[in-house]
């Protein structure tokens, strides 16, 4: 019976994908640890050991922002996709916006939560989970429940108790074990609610993005906003947004990216949604005022013309991967990615089944090559035994180096163990 290989980790269903209540990858990772009844530390070490990535095994996973926008988030989403068999775990991070949002100011400064969200989860019979929106810096409220996010346990009064521990069950204090939903939170201000709504809607939209937003569209979007709001005067626009003239100049002419706070300010002033501005989709937006005295060229081209990210036909790619599965000599996922010109992490995210099948086939092939090499070396050692015994040499690596060609001796792992086996066989035959 030919079956797709079973995943190494449980294929938990990510919560809320495509909604404002999208789960964060941090939360998914913690729930995985609960599902396997292991500490988050042990699970992190396991993941690292499986992907054979070149990082220290004693690294602290909590130092990484695995739900953010950077390399860590992208890698961890791919690794967990590979190990769980669940595709598109990058949707639990902010990486879809990595082309248009800078790291600065993006990560939340506190580990906070909405107690009402946890309570709702419990009442709905699902495991409480952390929302991705809580990991975004400017967000301080929950739009759904109209309350401020809290960062203090209502039972023990401690902070940093959401996930900063080895044993983490999302929704429960890592210090005293109390339920973090057992508190009435302070009502949020209109500004906090507006910001939360904008970010939550942006997160909800990332599941249906046709193409990833790219930085090249930002200057065009900004020019339209500047024209519509401030008659084309970028200095005035910068003042409106609350940034220096030079900062706006950098956005328009040097390819610098506005911070999320700046994008939010633009959304507030223009009436557009945050996701529209960030995606560069503001067609149909009517400028609130026109200034006929100033005619600005619409064909302003930024000095650094950034190309949009490549649009990939994933159906065709999956078919190519299916063909690669039929190759007489198996190849690794990394090799497949190189042949297709695609980061192998994306293969795990977007073509998970094929990537995992390639990976399993490659591991099996490597294991059989290893075994074949070891047989060769073992036979070489056995063939060299009479020469050693005739010469009265001890059965060790130094002696074998004198009679066995080095390219054969070095062709397999575990030479010492093979020599021990040969020595044991000789001793057994003498008995």
């Amino acid at each position: 019976m030919n079956q797709a290989p079973r995943s190494m980790l449980h294929a938990l269903v990510p919560q809320g994908v495509g909604t404002p209540a999208t789960e964060s990858l941090l939360s998914y990772f913690c729930r995985l640890a609960v599902s396997h009844a292991v500490s988050t530390t042990d699970l992190a070490h396991f993941v690292v050991s499986q992907v054979q990535h070149d990082i220290r095994e004693d690294f602290d996973w909590q130092q990484r922002n695995i739900s953010g926008i950077g390399e860590s988030a992208q890698s961890w989403a791919a690794w967990l996709s590979a190990l769980t068999g669940v595709a598109r775990l990058d949707l639990l991070t902010l990486t879809p916006w990595s082309g248009v949002l800078p790291h600065r100011g993006l990560a939340a400064r506190r580990s906070h939560w909405c107690p009402q969200c946890f309570k709702d989860d419990q009442e709905a019979g699902r495991d409480p989970y952390f929302r991705l929106s809580w990991e975004v810096g400017p967000v301080e409220a929950c739009h759904r429940h109209k309350v401020e996010l809290v960062d203090t346990c209502p039972h023990c009064g401690k902070r940093h108790v959401r996930h900063n521990a080895g044993i983490v069950v999302p929704g429960w204090c890592t210090h005293c074990g109390g339920f973090l939903g057992a508190v009435d939170a302070t009502p949020a201000s209109p500004k906090q609610l507006w910001i939360a709504r904008q970010v939550e809607d942006m997160i909800a939209s990332q599941a249906t993005l046709d193409t990833l937003p790219y930085a090249g569209s930002i200057p065009t979007t900004l020019n339209l906003l500047i024209l519509g709001l401030d008659g084309g005067q970028s200095a005035k626009f910068a003042k409106r947004i609350g940034v220096a003239k030079s900062t706006a100049h950098g956005w328009l002419n040097h390819g610098n990216l506005p911070t999320l706070d700046a994008f939010l300010a633009m959304a507030a002033h223009s009436g557009l949604k945050l996701e529209q501005i960030v995606r560069g989709d503001i067609s149909g937006w009517a400028p609130s005022q026109t200034d006929t005295q100033i005619a600005l060229p619409f064909d302003l081209i930024p000095k650094q013309d950034r190309q949009p990210s490549r649009i990939l036909d994933w159906d065709a790619i999956r078919q190519e991967l299916d063909e690669m599965l039929k190759l007489p000599v198996p190849i690794s996922v990394q090799e497949a990615g190189q042949r297709l010109g695609i980061d192998d992490r994306h293969l795990y995210l977007q073509a998970n089944e094929q990537a995992r099948a390639l990976g399993a086939r490659w591991l099996k092939y490597k294991a059989s090559c290893r075994a074949a090499n070891q047989d060769l070396v073992r036979n070489g050692l056995k063939a060299a035994m009479p020469a050693l015994l005739d010469a009265g040499l001890p059965i060790n690596l130094t002696s074998f180096r004198q009679v066995v060609p080095s390219d054969l001796l070095n062709s397999a792992e575990g030479t010492f163990e093979l020599i021990k086996q040969v020595r044991r066989d000789v001793q057994a035959s003498r008995v």
């Binding site: 019976m1 079956q3 797709a4 290989p5 079973r6 995943s7 190494m8 980790l9 449980h10 294929a11 938990l12 609960v34 599902s35 396997h36 009844a37 292991v38 500490s39 042990d42 699970l43 070490h45 396991f46 769980t84 068999g85 669940v86 080895g166 044993i167 069950v169 429960w172 204090c173 005293c176 074990g177 109390g178 339920f179 998970n352 089944e353 995992r356």
Partner: protein, 337 residues
Amino acid sequence: MTHNTLTAISSNPLANLRIRHNRLADLMADVDSLLDPEGDMLAIMGPTGVGKSVLGHYLVENALRASAEEMQADAGFMPAIRVEAVASGEGEFSWRLFFQNILEQLGEDLSMPRQMFDIDHETGRLLRTRRTSTNTLAGLRTAVERSLVARKVNFLVIDEAAHIFRQCSAKKLIIQLDTLKSLSNTSGVQLVLIGSYDLYDLLFLSGQLARRIQVMHFSRYRQDVDADIRAFRACVQQFQRAHQDLWGNGLMQHTEALMENTLGCVGTLKAVLKRAARFAAGRGGWSVDALQAALLTQTQREQILREILDGEQRITPGVTRELHSPRKNSPEKREAA
């Protein structure tokens, strides 16, 4: 004898051959109809060598085949698994080993030490034990329960289940069964116990246990039942076809003798024929002598037969169900009136 024939003999194609025969197919159909997440625990018992382990393998393979589409869509899904309740060699059954075996079958990596932590239903608080660097029994049990749920396992086949209950006092028997039942309840997985006739005695020492288990009898093929004789003959034919290069068509004429010697147990038949093939390889070719040398000795046969007859007698009340028609003017009816 040619070299090619010797090569063919020495590779022994019977080694991994499994015969799907009538009794097995019928029992699998019955088990299939009783598989239900909220159903009773199933206990399948039969004589040594009848093919109980093969049944266990087939049950799981059937489940995998039936769920192929769902498994394709969900890489974590495992509809069924099979484990052996291994005799640890110690005085008591080792639940630790047992849970580790289950986790291995569930594809879990045992290098990660399992921890016991859960939400207390009464207080609503998170309860944890001190984190350990090795697997504790409580941690393993927690991991098994959660993994069975996460993998959406429908049923768990436990072969050699008698090992769980041996060397137990009557009181301990109930504890052992409660442990199994609790595992089944918390994980929503139906348990299918497979074992020899002594499993019946162990489980039915208590009426409390008896009513919580559905018993099924995997019986042998009997020489006094025509249908059984035909079915056994078909098994011999399958074995003959599997190694035709060795015994040609020379096996079928010995069907009656084989049925008598193996007591109608297909597992024992396979073991005898495997031995015969090895003897033939050692002696340079097939002969009736090779077959004869492979048969059970008289002593062996008599011992096994005694155990089978004893077992069949004990289990019959446990698997016999009668629906009596009410009699007219029965004493009970007159009393009610």
